[in-house]
Symmetry: C2
Subunit: 493 residues, 2 copies
């Protein structure tokens, strides 16, 4: 159903000629060398050159490109900054990449109604920068926020360090304008509390470019917290740290950020960009409380007491902006630091109910031993959003395949724990099989019916995000899922 | 498209016989006298007797009822407690009412993961009561919360007094189980942060029973705020009160509740159940801050300063739970109190960007004069969710028609202000024309494609929530909308 679009009605030449009629010369790339920078997104293991890249400057040009592709039955892959980690913007060899980076204007900052209206190519950080003079900010902050665009954030339902308190992208949108594959402009959501009709704003969010192309986004802005305190707590075991997270949540505290790093991650950071994390800790928690001054003081004291009761060996409190930045710098350097420990690494993204953190982390450690691959953990503990990082060497025979199988096993563990196969990175091409572990056949079929309701010829980013029923049927023959354990070798956890 | 289901394949007798085969005798009503209590919901102006009422006790019975209705091509209207105000649960004369009130078990309260798993017939309040021993509560609290069911709350995306801080129903759900018209069970959402695939949990929420029947709901539970302070501020004009709301929001305060009542509402309450609201105020604001103690103290002081700067003639602070309950009692008595002022009243539900409160309230006052009908305002000011209450006498010739036209004009004003034709009451049968003012034809058509993706024969609550394209075309011939003013006579505001 989702596999490939209907057969095209003309040649590549016809398509390029048709696109050239609706786009200025500098907005259409088709030479091999020009296409090369678009061959992959952040999931660099997958690469493919598209037929052409369209780089429109106006919404009218986007409408024309989509209409042209629909007429020629050519698939279209929308692309923001290409920072996605699951291959959502991977080109199709017989398709057009629709790059939206040139639509990068901030159309309106409205402090009275606390909203910003922007074009899809505006970067995540640029919104907060434009809102800063009014004491406001845009809350979701994926680690790629300097580069990633709001259009891509909508497509992937991006998260970040502050989701626990401020929610994912879907919780921070008011309205979007979308162009359908037929070139029609639709508006979903409103500037007010709620909009009637089916919630197509939420449906579009996280739909990975399969339903329409977002050309305008109205986001909520929040007042910048006046004050913050950051606690750095060291634990003698991952288990103790995971239990501390559960206690903080149970106590009703909602930290602005609540991150965990385990021993391998701490060691990597201290070797690469030392920032004073306790050398002997098996795990550290970074717990930041933000808000108005009195609240922060009281909540930080409460959190500190909980961390000590939960067995923290030490708790350091960073108060000034400089001190906090220094403590955060270790967390932010974790990925490059881990990159120095092994030739390659693979970052997994799964989520679980927070109460299951201790068991699932034990399960990951056991899988790491079983597969003979080191795993470091640096993740959004407060959300239950795991990022196990598998360290491997692609030059070793079989290591890559073993890494992929370990990744799949970790995601299966997340599903078993009542969680899901993505936290914030999306499905793209990376997790099509994992989707088969997450959903039953009738649910996958319902997804395809939704796709068909927007894009009956399957031209928008086909083959991504939702596996075909056939793929899941084949997957199911190899693995039992839901109700039984998805992978026989996991039975012992 | 949405109008009526395909022609049935048998008689009423055949259908009843088929339903009797899948339901125990006490779970199927078909005598006229037994059907009578189901002839309307909270929108009592619309009444209709269904063919039959099914009152299943198990999910298997629900599946069987839906499958039977699908086979007989008979429409099905799901019903919780029937407290909805837009006619969403109005029976169809040729259809079955599927009452879900008997599925009223709380399946699980999980304090560790802060969630509750319940059947659809559990009342809103019962969830908070079951969670109370753990210091937790379920946040959305529509004023019908003693009676209304969580299944109905999901169908209507219910709100309440605390939406500003805690969100609508859609922001407080983790997972739902749904039965399709074909009797298939699907799960959307997960117990973790996020679920992959299209966000069908959000799509189902607020879909007014048109896409599927919710049979299990997992909601988020929140820690009960430790402390609260309620400010009662009196203003010499509605304008001044509306401006104060805008200032509170702009200052970054997020009150647990921020309600406004105008002079007619205050007078009605003081005549009916006096609770000491200032007798000479043209408007009062009730602003409740909740949270941890220090935060509440600081925020209440900040809010009081803003209210005074905004021109409040007086600000009373209620601290103890008893004092706060006394001040809230006036707000809660507002509807019955207004009911004594006129033989009939009609409560409108619309929402607007909060910054537009002053102009829209002025516009409503002007419309009230123009139509010669008194309008009182009691509403969720912090959300921009208006509830203008039109007072009239249905016995007066033409009054009812004039009331309806005034209501439509008020909603048009909301749309013009960038808002929407519902805040929290849904569309049902009441606001089908208003939907035509809110949406353009391609958006309405997209809604129908979504409906078709779940329910190709149009058997689930047909004729509700989404108008037919034909109805909107006829509406459009009478009124211009979006881009121009929807109602010619509003041009002067």
């Amino acid at each position: 159903m989702n596999a490939r679009p209907d057969a095209g009605t003309g040649s590549r030449g016809d398509l390029l000629a048709a696109l050239a009629r609706v786009l200025p010369a500098d907005a259409l790339l088709h030479e091999r060398a020009d296409l090369k920078p678009y061959e992959c997104d952040g999931l660099t293991a997958f690469r493919s050159l598209p037929l052409a890249v369209a780089l429109p400057r106006t919404v009218a040009q986007i409408e024309a490109v989509l209409r042209t592709c629909a007429q020629h039955r050519v698939p279209v892959v929308a692309r923001g900054a290409g920072t996605g980690l699951s291959g959502g913007a991977l080109p199709l060899a017989d398709g057009v990449v629709l790059g939206l980076a040139r639509l990068n204007r901030i159309l309106e900052i409205d402090p009275r109604n606390r909203l910003a209206r922007v074009q899809p190519g505006v970067t995540n950080l640029a919104i907060s920068q434009a809102a800063a003079p009014y004491g406001l900010f845009y809350a979701p902050d994926p680690s790629s926020q300097i580069a990633c665009t709001i259009g891509g954030n909508v497509a992937e339902n991006a998260g970040g360090l502050h989701c626990l308190k401020y929610g994912l992208t879907t919780h921070n949108l008011l309205k979007i304008d979308v162009i359908t594959i037929d070139g029609e402009r639709l508006t979903f959501g409103s500037d007010a509390l709620d909009a009637p009709g089916y919630d197509l704003l939420a449906l579009m969010t996280g739909s990975e470019g399969l339903l329409g192309v977002v050309v305008e986004v109205t986001v909520k802005l929040l007042p910048k917290p006046q004050d913050a305190r950051l606690l750095l707590a060291a634990f003698a075991s991952v288990d103790a740290a995971a239990n501390a997270v559960a206690r903080i949540i149970r106590a009703g505290l909602v930290p602005g950020g609540l991150e965990m790093m385990d021993r391998p991650a701490i060691a990597a950071v201290e070797a690469y960009a030392p920032c004073g994390y306790p050398a002997d800790a098996q795990a550290v928690l970074l717990c930041e409380l933000d808000g108005v001054d009195a609240e922060v003081l009281e909540e930080a004291a409460h959190a500190e007491a909980i961390l000590r009761e939960a067995g923290a060996d030490s708790v350091r409190v960073a108060v000034s902006a400089e001190e906090r930045a220094a403590v955060w710098s270790g967390r932010k350097a974790a990925f490059p630091a881990l990159g120095r420990l092994a030739p390659d690494y693979y970052c997994i993204d799964g989520s679980i109910p927070r109460g299951r953190l201790p068991d699932v982390l034990r399960g990951i450690a056991a899988l790491s031993r079983e597969y003979g691959l080191a795993v470091a953990n640096v993740f959004h503990a407060g959300d239950g959003n795991l990022h196990p990082i598998i360290l491997y060497d692609a030059a070793d025979a079989g290591a890559r395949d073993r890494t992929e199988r370990l990744g799949t096993a970790i995601l299966a563990l997340c599903v078993e724990a009542g969680g899901s196969v993505t936290g914030e990175h999306g499905v793209g091409v990376e997790k099509l099989d994992a989707m088969c572990a997450q959903f039953l056949a009738p649910e996958i079929e319902q997804f395809h019916r939704i796709k068909h309701a927007f894009d009956p010829h399957g031209l928008l980013n086909p083959g991504k995000a939702v596996p075909t029923p056939r793929r899941c049927a084949e997957f199911g023959r190899m693995h039992v899922h839901r109700g039984a354990l998805p992978f026989a070798h996991l039975e012992r956890y």
